[in-house]
Each structure stands twice: as C-alpha cells, then as structure tokens.
Symmetry: C2
C-alpha cells in the first residue's frame, strides 16, 4: 500500500480558499459505491455538520480531533496528491466529514487543469455551486439509524447545484427495515439517480490506526438480507455493495 498520512505542516495564512484537511492518502481503491474498485487518492476534509450514531470517520468529524486537521491551500493539496500519484492523473475522492463545508472550488479547478478527476461524497445537507465541476457526486442521505434528520430541501438544492454535468448518484447505508424504507422513499423522490445500497457496519467507532477488527459476520448477514430485499421487491435498478475497504482492511485508517 502506497499510503501516506499527511505530515504536520507549517501553518498557512487562513483565508477563504484554505481547506481543513484530515488526511490525504493513496493510491488505493475506492471501496464503495459507483466507483468501487477504481484506483483513487483520498483527500479527507475535517469537520461535519452531522453526528451519525455509527460514524466510521470520527477522526474527520469530531472537533476533538481538530488539532489533527491541517489548513492547506489547493496548491499544497495538489502537491501532496502528485507525490502520491507519481504525477499521473487519477480520480481524487473528496470525503470527510462533510467536504461540502469546505471551499473546494479552487482545488477542483486546479486539479482538473492538471488532468485529475474528482469524486465527492456528502450527505447532501449543504449545497455548493462547485458541485457542478465534479465528475461524480455521491449523495448519501443518512437513514433513521444514524439519528439524523434529512432536510429534503437541502438535498434538492444539492442535486440542483450539481446540474447535469457530474454523474449524481444516491448511496444509502442500511442497517434495518426502517433504513431500507427510508432509502426506497428517497430513491422514489429522485428517480433519475442510480441507487447504491450498502450494509451498515456496526463495528464500534472510533476506528483506529491499529484496530482492524470488524463485524464481518454482521456485515455479510445484512448484505444477504439486502440482496433478498431488492430481489423480493423487484428493485432491480438498485445496486447492492458492501464497503470493500472494510472487508479488506477492517477499520484501519490510511488505506
């Protein structure tokens, strides 16, 4: 694994284009959703407007970790990405936390000039006009088991902001029948978007750099259950995929 966790850097002048970075690592593969299995470098931002009960990236969410988040300019981020990718353009996965909190427009513009492609995943609570400059936007509204409430108007605004240029898809973490019903309901609201269903991972957060244990049996049981559900409901337009990185590396960070 050519992974590299971001070293501490000298402080930069904070301005409207400075991005709070939790970690940059890769190349690895995208472990979930529409780009599953595709090589990518992750750029994970720090900070989130949600606190999902089963969050698996608390180190990029909880402000207790904020001292680990480094303010970086778009240029500094792309320099780090170039080191990891050997200067060869790759898909950059923007993740978080909620990356929509950060001012990513300049980073995306710079990276695209250099030939990189951009995928972003967000819960869809905050819309940004630079969503239109992405290659793929994964909207992952959080189901009831998360303990969060979905603001449908905000989700509408995200989809409207992306427009027709990026491929926009929906991804749902599903733990139980209630989550599944939620996914069906949201999917019905946006019938043009492809849907990815992902069995939830009950492994207690926070993940760590050493503890790779996961609830493999639970994930696989929910995976089989989800496949049965979409089959029984003839929901043949849905795609059912586990988090591949969790199966491969457990909850390890930086892979």
């Amino acid at each position: 694994m050519t992974a590299l966790v971001l070293p501490a850097m000298h402080p930069v002048t904070l301005d409207a284009t400075t991005i709070r970075i939790s970690e940059i690592f890769g190349p690895t593969i995208q472990g979930e959703g529409a780009l599953i299995g595709k090589p990518t470098v992750f750029v994970r931002t720090g900070g989130c407007d949600y606190r999902c009960s089963w969050c698996d990236t608390l180190h990029a969410v909880d402000s207790a970790y904020r001292h680990d988040w480094t303010p970086m300019t778009p240029e500094a981020i792309m320099m780090q990405v170039e080191i990891l990718s050997g200067g060869q353009p790759i898909t950059i996965s923007l993740s978080g936390g909620n990356p929509a909190i950060q001012p990513l427009g300049d980073l995306i513009a710079l990276g695209r000039q250099m030939g990189y492609r951009f995928a972003l995943e967000t819960q869809g609570s905050i819309a940004k006009d630079w969503f239109a400059d992405l290659d793929i936007l994964t909207l992952s509204p959080k189901p009831p088991s998360s303990g969060m409430e979905t603001d449908l108007e905000a989700l509408d605004a995200c989809i409207a902001a992306a427009g027709i240029n990026p491929r926009s898809v929906l991804k749902f973490v599903v733990f139980d029948d209630e989550d599944y019903a939620y996914a069906r309901s949201i999917a019905n609201r946006y019938r043009d978007l492809d849907v990815y269903l992902q069995p939830g991972n009950h492994t207690p957060p926070p993940p760590s750099e050493t503890d790779a244990l996961i609830d493999m049996d639970g994930i696989m049981t929910r995976m089989r259950w989800l496949i049965d559900k979409v089959g029984a409901d003839r929901w043949f337009s849905a795609t059912v995929l586990p988090q591949l990185h969790t199966l491969i590396w457990g909850n390890l960070r930086g892979v």
Copy 2:
C-alpha cells in the same frame, strides 16, 4: 434468496436453437466485474472448450456433469426467467462453461423484445455474431495459471463480432506475477476496453451445494497485493474487485 435451481424437464426436440442449460437462478446480484452488485438472473449453459486448473464451475464444464444439463428452447428459458423475476425485466447474465458454444442468438432476441438486458461472460475463444446484440460483453481471457493458451486471433474476432453496440470489457483472474504480466499485456493490446482485475480463488474445486468454505485469507491477501501492484504501476484505469458472491456465500451454488 429467491434462488431456484432448474428442475429436470421433459426432453425437447434438439435442433439448432436448443440450448444446453446447467442452471437458472436468481434474482441475486452479479458478483464480479463491471456489473458488480447489480441484480441479475443467471442463465448458466453447460459445456466448455477450456479446462482451467482452478475452474470454479466444473458442474457446467466437465462432461461428467452432462446428464445435469437440460436442453431448453429460448421460450422455455424465458419462461423460467420470468418466474424468477416476477415478470419484471432484469439483466440476464449468460455464463457457463463457455456460453459462446451455445446458440444464444434467438434467446437474446426474444428476451430483448420482452425488455430484458443481456450480459455475457466468455473467455473469448469462440466468436459469435450475436455478441453484437448483447448489452455488455465481458471477455475473460485465461492467464497462465489456468494452464490454458490464449488464441489472440480468436479474441480479436470476439471483439470485432461485438462491434460498438455492447459495452465490451476485459476481466482477468490474477493469482501471481505471471498472471498480472499477462493481464497487462492483453490490456495493452485492447486499450479502448475497460479492465477488471480479480484476485484468484484457490479454494479446491469442485464447488458444491453444501460446502461454502473458501480461502478468504488468500483472496484478501491477493486483493491487497493487486491493489498495491496497480498503485505502484500507476495502472489507474484498471478496476480491482474480488468475487463478491464468493465472499458472501463461499462456493455455494444457486446464489
């Protein structure tokens, strides 16, 4: 799992449109390659021109199993598929054995009239003109570890027969460095085709209806190794995916 293994049927008159069927089952998900995670019904034909050392579907390959293969008309096959899908069109995955041995043109034409989509996977040793009527053609040339030799002219002919209508992709099972080098070499020959790399499964064949044991550690070790390889070689256009059905169900049949 709404799976259904084909019951024995009354003999039909054998003619040029009769297809030897090993099993029909689903709906389940496609476990590998470009359609990973997508709901599908499998139509598996019996018979193969190859004998790969690590074949995981010997029950559809070895003529010792030929008494389990049922000759069926396209109409009878679609009737079975309709029962499984509840009459709602789904992607039909044509697999084998080598399904290119069978006369599948009429089946594909009939199914498409009914709204179904067709994916086919073959090693690329036999070209058929009806490849052009598929939605997706997965060519899976067999690497050195299989013990088979690749006929590149036959593979060229398969790609030419498919033409521009279906999406054609390459998929390689990879066990070791030699297999990996083979995959790179074939991929270089067909630069327009997307490439899927799949870690090999050493679990001893034949799979059975009861024995679900697999070499999970070996598969995952090869998965991590493959991800490192494509990262180190900057082969960012490749996609690395395990056989999901093997992780979920082991070597069980009919899922």
